[in-house]
C-alpha cells in the first residue's frame, strides 16, 4: 500500500520535474518587497503585450535587489531607496515615488505637529500628548527598523541619528505601521502617504499629518511640494539591453501609471 503510494508519488515527481521548454525570454527581478507588488502587476501586463516573455519577480528586500543585480543573479534589482555612495557602479531607473507622512490614530485630538515637536516626540523629550495640546496619554512612538529606507529618509529629514530615537514599537513593513497605529490611540508613526490615504478612506482609524505646512497627500508628493519622499528604483549592473531594456522602458512609460496609482504610489512626471 505505502510502497504503491510512493511509486505513484515518485512518478508524479519525475513528471513534474521535467522542465518544460523555457520561455523564450525570462526576466528575473529581485529585491524590495515594497516595489514587488507593483512590478508583478507591470510584469503581467508586459507579458500580455510581449507573448513568450516571462517576468519572474522575487522579493527579499532592497539590499537583496542591489546584491543580485550586481552579482548577475537577477537581471534587474528593485530598491525602494536611492542608490548609496558605494553603489555608484549600478544604474538606477526611477519608476515611481512614495511619500512618507506622519500618522496618528484618528481618535487622537492632535491635528498638527511642528517638525520640532515630532523630533521631540521621537527623541523622547515629549512623552505625553498633553504637551502638544492633546488629551493626556503616554505617547507610543512607532519607529522603523534599522537600515530601512523610510527610517533613513526620516532621520535624514529631521537630522537625527538612529540612536537618538527612543521608540516603543519597532516595525518592519509599511502595513505593520498602519495596523499598529490603528490599534493604539496614542501611537505615532510614519508610513507611505499613498497607502495611508487609501486606508484612511477605507475607514481604518488613522489620520495623516501635514509636514512643514504642506498637507500629506499623493498630489503634493507628485507636485514635489511634500518634503519627504523616496524614489522606487529598478537597478541594473550594466546598461540594459534587449528585453531588459524594453521592460525598464515600459515601467517608466505612461502605460503603467494606472498600475502605479493602484498600488498607491506616485507616478513619474506630471
Amino acid at each position: 500500500m505505502l510502497s504503491k503510494l510512493f511509486t505513484t508519488g515518485a512518478l508524479i515527481f519525475v513528471a513534474l520535474s521535467t522542465p518544460v521548454i523555457a520561455a523564450d525570454d525570462k526576466i528575473v527581478i529581485t529585491g524590495s518587497s515594497t516595489v514587488a507588488p507593483l512590478i508583478t502587476e507591470i510584469g503581467k501586463r508586459f507579458e500580455e503585450k510581449n507573448p513568450g516573455v516571462r517576468v519572474d519577480v522575487q522579493t527579499g528586500g532592497s539590499s537583496r535587489g542591489i546584491n543580485d543585480a550586481r552579482s548577475g543573479l537577477a537581471d534587474i534589482g528593485m530598491a525602494s531607496r536611492a542608490l548609496k555612495k558605494d553603489e555608484s557602479d549600478l544604474k538606477a531607473y526611477t519608476i515611481a515615488r512614495d511619500g512618507i507622512g506622519v500618522v496618528l490614530n484618528s481618535a487622537n485630538t492632535v491635528s498638527t505637529l511642528t517638525d520640532q515637536q515630532i523630533v521631540d516626540i521621537y527623541t523622547g523629550k515629549i512623552s505625553d500628548w498633553s504637551a502638544v495640546g492633546g488629551t493626556q496619554g503616554p505617547i507610543t512612538v512607532v519607529n522603523k527598523a534599522e537600515g530601512r529606507s523610510t527610517l533613513e529618509l526620516f532621520l535624514h529629514f529631521f537630522k537625527l541619528k538612529a540612536s537618538d530615537i527612543k521608540a516603543h514599537v519597532v516595525i518592519g513593513d509599511n502595513q505593520q505601521g498602519i495596523k499598529t497605529v490603528a490599534g493604539n490611540p496614542n501611537a505615532i508613526g510614519y508610513v507611505s502617504v499613498g497607502t495611508a490615504e487609501f486606508e484612511a478612506g477605507q475607514g481604518t482609524p488613522i489620520k495623516l499629518l501635514g509636514m512643514g505646512g504642506v498637507a500629506a497627500s499623493v498630489e503634493n508628493v507628485r507636485n514635489g511640494s511634500f518634503p519627504l519622499a523616496r524614489p522606487l528604483n529598478l537597478v541594473t549592473s550594466k546598461e540594459p539591453t534587449g528585453m531588459t531594456k524594453l521592460f525598464i522602458d515600459y515601467t517608466q512609460s505612461a502605460d503603467t501609471h494606472d498600475l502605479v496609482k493602484e498600488q498607491f504610489f506616485v507616478p513619474n512626471g506630471p
Binding site: 500500500m1 505505502l2 503510494l5 510512493f6 508519488g9 515518485a10 515527481f13 513534474l16 520535474s17 521535467t18 522542465p19 518544460v20 528575473v28 518587497s33 515594497t34 514587488a36 507588488p37 507593483l38 508583478t40 502587476e41 516571462r54 519572474d56 519577480v57 522575487q58 522579493t59 527579499g60 543573479l73 518592519g172 513593513d173 509599511n174 502595513q175 505593520q176 498602519i178 495596523k179 507611505s192 499613498g194 497607502t195 487609501f198 486606508e199 477605507q202 493602484e262 498600488q263 498607491f264
Partner: protein, 291 residues
C-alpha cells in the same frame, strides 16, 4: 481499551481529582476558545471574500482582487515535495535511532542533539540557507523544488522525533518474537513495528504538514513570489502563507484577501489531514488486526 474510569468510580482524593478535572477542562476550553476566537476573526473579515471564483482564478491587482488558484497549486506542490523528501528520510533516521542505537549512547546523543538544534533554527535562517544552498549552489533557482527541499530540512526534526517516539513505544515482545522466528529486522519493521507505530507516525506527519503549510519566511527566499500557475517543479511559485504575508504587510487593502486566503489554507489543512487519517486507517486495517 477499557478506560480506568470504567473500572473504578469511587473517589479517594475527591479534592485533587476535582481540581484536576476542572483544570483539564479549563485548559482545553482555553485552547479551544482561542482557536474559535481566531477562526471567528478570520471568518468575520474573510468570509465575504470567499466564493468559487476566489478559489478558481488567479490573483489580480496584487491579490486585492481575483483569486488564489495558482497559489493553492504551488502550495500543495511545495508541501508535497517537502513531505516526499522528508518522510522517508525522517522515518529512516527514526528507525536508526530507535532500533539500532542505544538510548543515551553516543550516536543517539549526537544525532538527537543535532536534531534538537535543527528544530530551533529560525525559519528565516532556513530561508537564507535554502536560497544559498538549493537555489544558488545547486542551481535550482527560485523554484518549488528549492522551496520544498528547504521545508524538508525544516520539518525533518519534527518527523524524526515523533517517529522515534512512536517506534520506541512498540513493546519489545514483538521485536523479540520476530527475531526468535528468524525474521530479518527489515521484515519486522515493515510488517509489524512500523504499522503498529502508524498512529504516532501520522501525528508527526500532521505536525510536519501543518508546519510546512504554515511556513512563510523560509519560502520567500526559495520558492519565491511569482503568483503565476507553475508549469513544473522548476518554476517559482508563491505559497499561500507568503501570499498572506504579502497581503497583510505590503499591500494596502489586502487584508480581506489575506483573511480569506487563511480560511482556504485551513480548509486545505482539513483536506490533507483528513486524507492522511483515512489513509492510515486503511493501512492499519489491512496490516494490523487488533480487534
Amino acid at each position: 481499551m477499557p478506560e480506568p474510569a470504567n473500572l473504578i468510580d469511587r473517589e479517594i482524593h475527591p479534592v485533587r481529582d476535582r481540581v484536576l478535572l476542572g483544570a483539564v477542562w479549563a485548559a482545553a476550553m482555553l485552547v479551544a476558545g482561542a482557536f474559535v476566537w481566531l477562526l471567528a476573526d478570520l471568518l468575520w473579515h474573510g468570509a465575504g471574500r470567499l466564493d468559487w471564483s476566489f478559489l478558481s482564478t488567479a490573483p489580480r491587482n496584487s491579490g486585492r482582487a481575483g483569486g488564489i488558484w495558482p497559489i493553492v497549486v504551488s502550495t500543495v506542490l511545495i508541501v508535497a515535495v517537502a513531505i516526499v523528501v522528508a518522510a522517508p528520510l525522517g522515518l529512516a533516521t527514526a528507525v536508526l535511532l530507535s532500533e539500532f542505537t542505544r538510548r543515551g549512547g553516543t550516536t543517539e546523543r549526537a544525532i538527537g542533539l543535532s536534531l534538537d538544534v535543527l528544530a530551533g533554527v529560525p525559519s528565516i535562517v532556513f530561508g537564507l540557507f535554502g536560497n544559498a544552498f538549493f537555489s544558488v549552489w545547486l542551481g535550482l533557482g527560485f523554484s518549488i523544488l528549492s522551496g520544498g527541499l528547504t521545508l524538508a530540512c525544516m520539518v525533518l526534526p519534527i518527523l524524526i522525533r515523533t517517529a522515534e517516539t512512536g517506534l520506541r513505544m512498540v513493546p519489545d515482545d514483538w521485536r523479540l518474537g520476530a527475531a526468535a522466528l528468524g525474521l530479518s529486522r527489515t521484515t519486522a519493521l515493515h510488517q509489524i513495528l512500523i504499522p503498529v507505530a502508524t498512529p504516532v507516525l501520522l501525528a508527526g506527519l500532521m505536525l510536519g504538514i501543518g508546519r510546512a503549510m504554515a511556513e512563510t519566511a523560509a519560502l520567500v527566499f526559495t520558492s519565491g513570489y511569482v503568483d503565476r500557475m507553475p508549469s513544473s517543479l522548476f518554476d517559482s511559485g508563491r505559497a499561500i502563507s507568503v501570499h498572506i504575508y504579502d497581503l497583510t504587510m505590503n499591500v494596502a487593502g489586502g487584508d480581506r484577501s489575506a483573511y480569506a486566503s487563511a480560511l482556504v489554507l485551513i480548509a486545505l489543512l482539513v483536506l490533507v489531514n483528513g486524507a492522511a487519517i483515512w489513509l492510515s486507517d486503511r493501512t492499519l486495517q489491512r496490516k494490523i488486526a487488533t480487534r
